[in-house]
Symmetry: C2
Subunit: 715 residues, 2 copies
């Protein structure tokens, strides 16, 4: 008992002993059902029902309290009313329990945040970890432990499920049985008062018994850690995720509304892609992927071939390949050599390979054999559409035979078949044998899409940000920011923001603060005409709104007029504003306008954003996001993911833009938001990008102070 | 026999007599199978097998030739080798046959275009119509006629299928049986040498026995007629279409690659939407929609409510509603009044209505009853996720009971249920009773999406283009174009194109042709500085490429310099070019740049295109298309369909643009391309759009002559 380091997470998955606090004699109670499942599942450790009433349940002696036990308890499963839970947790601490599973609901999910926090922190203080509350239990194949209150039997296997929703988790058990998906683990994380997805992933990523991990998530709490853990885990095994709330309205319904420029789900989606997570749209798709990836060898390369007996379905599969990012083999010459002998003259040896409606099961065998033998062909999509000429009675055996052959040779294969009862029965029976066969072509190809996403991600070389890229003068930045905080401001003045850019090594146009007209005129000459002038005031954030900006000033007269107008306008619109002076800067040469942002997200911590300037961001929502740690390749992908990326590459005879400098700026801005905790938001808008080799310039920079640091003093 | 008007299409669907030319004694031959299916289907008309060998097949006396028959023959079904078909067609003409079904393949699909054309035109000349060749037959429930060679029994019902692929058609028969979808008709159109989709749609749109039409299309031949027919047909019943080749690669595979700016499929997709056609992505989706729409009453309005026992699946359904355009009921106050008594406190009466995991079948009954009674709620999506508390044995009866209640009251309802064996069995058994129930939430909501698309389209008021909108001086335009043709040109000179705009009533900047410098200077003063100058030469299409354009000329000196430079550049780059002079025009005020195009599409005839200018079209591919007839509402929708539409509405404090003038310009340009057959392409780029009420200006206009008219003479 007592304080100490955290117990090893293995004891949660492989407990040697388990106590059920609240074990019940009543078959309709969860306290009975859990015990029943533990017994029925054939758990190999020791089980102790606890109930003050004593007696015997399912042949096991019931203990009146934990104190009665001499045994060490790895896991205590609590199924008593919410108001009694804290006392039980204290008993657990007394007894030296390692993990507490709080099945009981009635905590933060109904607003009772306080009790939940109290329990979780008490447990941690006493060297215990808590799963839940508000969960439906845990299943672990390693010790044949089914400590859930579900009614179905769980089949052991290689898929681990982590679910935030207990209700959906229970239904998933049924669904996995229907789909013949065996589980290594199923954990309901519920309210995540202590143990969350990251804790479980850290164990499961190295668990030999787990090949695939399925995550059902409703909301992210400790996003920074989750990103780090997911990035590591996806290097080792595929992680499939379902998160509802993709749409604006859905996100509102999920009450997870954050983010301003883009809906929070876009940020989530981009970050999950960055982590290499396979995000499924629907539950059905997630289960299809799980089953497929658990039963299919990884591909050794990209080139996929479609083999079909119908032209139309071949074209549909081609469409689906484009939708799901599956790359088709294109070497027409080789394809002709391989397939011409099994393809009639009016068929096609171009990809899709069209064996025509005359194909028999033998022709499929031959074509699939050829594809299997070919080193150039890395994966096969086989389509069948019911015909009168086909020897339909051979369909199931032909499919299963080839499935097994491909599996043993380590080449991915998927089937999609379309037709009547015989075809449908073929699907039903073969799916029970885990053969990847689908009625819907898109469902089949979607599995290939998931497989290749994973393949590409896991094959990517590990990469570290070079120190030189993040060589920023953080002391200088902290000094600037702390001055603003000391003055009680919530944003930096333009000259300050420019100094932050200088300290970060991000180029800005030559610029000076002029405190009077004479100084402005001198600076203008120094910089060289044309110049730009802007009001500098701690009280004015939106400079152009007050008439505080003048562009393209070509001579002394224009500077004089503009200076007076800026001061006059600003004083007229905001009479109380304290005016520092006017910023005089070089008129920026025209280039491509982009926006780069960095901010502290509620869920994911520091994130960066990239988009093409102006209306692209505001109307087209053509932006991309990334969390940390961030690599150069990932920053580069941010650019590539925008629809407007071709503009950076140069279109209509224009030069390629300085993409490398954009990537560097993203990384540097990321380093600033990561390392300077007092900054909440930075936006460079526009960052003007010049032709290749000619760099970028941060023309306008806005930096906001973290809310917790704002208004510390008030002048 | 002999020439005459076309036979009535009814005789194809309801023939009184049918001859099978090539009837066979061999059970493995199509000539036997068709006869077997006609007999087995219980066809009510007369059947005459024709085979020179005579004898008896399936109890029917075989005639050695058509000539032997005294009877009138409505339909002759030809199943003899390709080289014998023409002679058989001649026999049919001799005998006065009305419709010929050519099952035989080996015609245009293998390059034998000539024989196919010969047969089709011979038949038309002799008052006969041809279905095929290369088809798998026809099924018509009205006369219990199954003249296909499929192996499965066809169930009569209310869905008509028209398929271009015979192979897929045969498989579809099997699929409809599996899905319990009854058919009114199934027609394979094959190579469409004569009868095509439009002929069949004209009949089926008024056929009382047909409620839904499913079209499988691989390529469009007579697109103008198809558009017209589809527009009429979709006003009367839902038309669901599958066309493969959505992706670039898929379109290449389908060898239907047309269009320059956008892939041909984008044009096809936009035009089908214009026609009110419901385009399905996959075969499974198409069949889901067929079955759903055949069994569901039409909604009387938009407000959909989601009822669920799980929060997560409720959010997923909300996401799906946004994806498929299903509008959710939003009156929180009314929803609370209706549902609060069936929803526990920790549930939600906001849409989705969350009955929570504690809901029983009785709670679903109550909630569904309330939704059915409410006039404000127009349709319901009911979700269920397996829970321990639910009385699962009541699930199927609860669902079927509510399905029937909703059906009889005329309110749409769809179910999606998720769980184990019991849930899965519930789906299987209820689908056999045509209850709309799905495992996948997205599949369920997709059906609602199709239903509402149809509802919105059929509810739209009929609208005609006002004459005033298409009041163009076509004689003037024809005159300009014929002059260019006479000169052997393939494009119009700028002043000519401007005259076309004037004749069409489309505003252009004030502009004159100056044949020398003096004239240019005089015109510049007349127009008022600043002006723009451009080279005018029949030999120069791309003016800026030869240095033939000068913008923003502010005074006399600049006009002199520019004039000389333009002439010098043009002569240097294209020494042989015949130079007409220089166009002097008003410098256009800045506004929003858009592109409007009109051209003659190979498949659809005249089409119009709209997009925002410059990079939006070229990089973002943000364009929309429409075919004719075109209404104002449809032209308006072209604007709304672009992602950049908010820019026309005015963003970032900008004024709303003159949207009405853009719509008018699209309609006028459409009228030009429709009525002046010698023009193949018109592109206004840019059409500058000013603020609301301030109109538009066609700044640059390119008009190309139809290929067939080009180079008629050569100066």
């Amino acid at each position: 008992m007592g304080k100490g380091s955290d117990p090893k997470i293995e004891y949660l998955f492989k407990p040697r002993s388990i106590a059920v606090i609240g074990a019940s004699h009543d078959e309709n109670k969860i306290g009975y059902q859990i015990l029943r499942n533990i017994r029925a599942g054939g758990y190999s450790g020791k089980v102790y029902p606890i109930n003050p009433r004593g007696g015997e349940i399912l042949g096991l002696p019931v203990y009146s309290s934990l104190a009665e036990l001499d045994e060490e308890i790895d896991v205590a499963c609590i199924v008593i009313p919410a108001k009694l839970v804290f006392d039980a947790v204290k008993d657990c601490a007394q007894h030296g329990v390692k993990f507490i599973l709080i099945i009981t609901s009635g905590f933060s999910e109904v607003g009772n945040i306080e009790d939940e926090k109290k329990i979780a922190s008490y447990a941690r203080e006493h060297g215990m970890r808590v799963l839940g509350p508000n969960i439906f239990g845990i299943y672990s194949a390693a010790t044949s432990l089914d400590a859930t209150f579900g009614s179905g039997k769980i089949m052991p296997g290689s898929v681990a499920i982590i679910t935030q929703s207990g209700a959906l988790g229970a239904a998933m058990i049924g669904k996995t049985a229907v789909e013949n998906i065996g589980l290594s683990t199923m954990v309901s994380v519920g309210n995540k008062s202590d143990i969350d997805e990251s804790d479980l992933l850290e164990y499961l990523m190295d668990d030999q018994g787990t090949k695939i991990i399925l995550l059902y998530i409703e909301g992210v709490k400790k996003g920074e850690r989750l990103v780090k853990t997911l990035k590591e885990a996806t290097k080792r095994k595929p992680i499939i995720m379902i998160k509802a709330g993709r749409s604006k309205r859905g996100a509102m319904a999920a009450a997870s509304h954050t983010g301003s420029l883009a809906g929070a789900d876009e940020i989530f989606d981009d970050i999950m892609r960055q982590c290499g997570v396979l995000r499924a749209e629907s539950l059905q798709e997630a289960f299809d992927w799980c089953k497929f990836l658990a039963n299919t060898p990884p591909p050794s390369g990209e080139n996929t071939v479609i083999i079909t007996n119908g032209g139309g379905i071949g074209v549909m599969a081609t469409d689906a390949c484009e939708k799901y990012g599956v790359k088709l083999y294109d070497d027409i010459h080789t394809l002709r050599e391989i397939f011409s002998w099994v393809t009639p003259g009016f068929g096609s040896t171009k990809n899709p390979i069209d064996l025509t409606g005359q194909a028999t099961s033998g022709d499929y065998d031959s074509a699939l054999d050829e594809a299997l033998k070919s080193d150039g062909i890395k994966a096969v999509i086989a389509l069948y559409c019911e015909t009168a000429l086909f020897d339909a009675e051979n369909l199931p055996t032909m499919i299963e035979r080839n499935y097994l052959k491909y599996k043993s040779e380590g080449k991915p294969l998927v089937f999609s078949v379309f037709g009547g009862d015989a075809t449908e029965n073929c699907i039903t029976s073969l799916r029970k044998h885990n053969v990847p066969i689908f009625a819907d072509i898109y469902a089949a190809v979607s599995c290939f899409g998931a497989m290749y996403s994973y393949y590409r991600n896991s094959g990517a070389r590990p990469e570290r940000i070079r120190d030189v890229d993040v060589d920023i003068d953080i002391d200088a930045i902290d000094h600037i920011v702390s001055q603003a905080i000391a003055e009680g401001r919530y944003f930096l003045l333009a000259p300050e923001a420019q100094n932050v850019m200088r300290a970060a090594g991000i180029a800005i146009p030559e610029s000076y603060l002029a405190r009077n007209l004479d100084e402005a005129l001198r600076r203008a000459v120094e910089i060289g005409y044309p110049v730009v002038m802007k009001i500098v005031s701690r009280d004015i954030l939106h400079k152009s709104d007050v008439g505080g900006v003048a562009l393209d000033l070509e001579n002394r007269e224009e500077v004089i007029d503009a200076y007076q107008a800026i001061i006059r306008n600003s004083k007229a619109r905001q009479p109380d504003a304290h005016i520092e002076g006017v910023e005089v800067s070089k008129m920026v040469e025209s280039g491509m306008e982009t926006i780069i942002g960095a901010r502290r997200d509620r869920a994911f911590g520091p994130i960066v954003m990239f988009g093409l300037g102006g209306i692209y961001v505001e109307v087209m929502k053509d932006v991309s996001f990334r969390a940390f740690p961030l690599t150069r390749v990932e920053a580069m992908r941010m650019l590539k993911e925008t629809r407007s990326y071709p503009l950076l590459l140069g279109t209509r005879g224009e030069e390629r833009k300085d993409i490398d400098s954009v990537v560097k700026t993203i990384i540097k801005l990321g380093a600033v938001i990561q390392r300077c905790k007092d900054i909440s938001d930075i936006e460079i808008n526009p960052l003007v990008v010049y032709d290749h080799g000619k760099g970028v310039e941060a023309v306008d920079v806005r930096i906001l102070i973290s809310e917790s640091k704002r208004g510390k003093t008030d002048e």
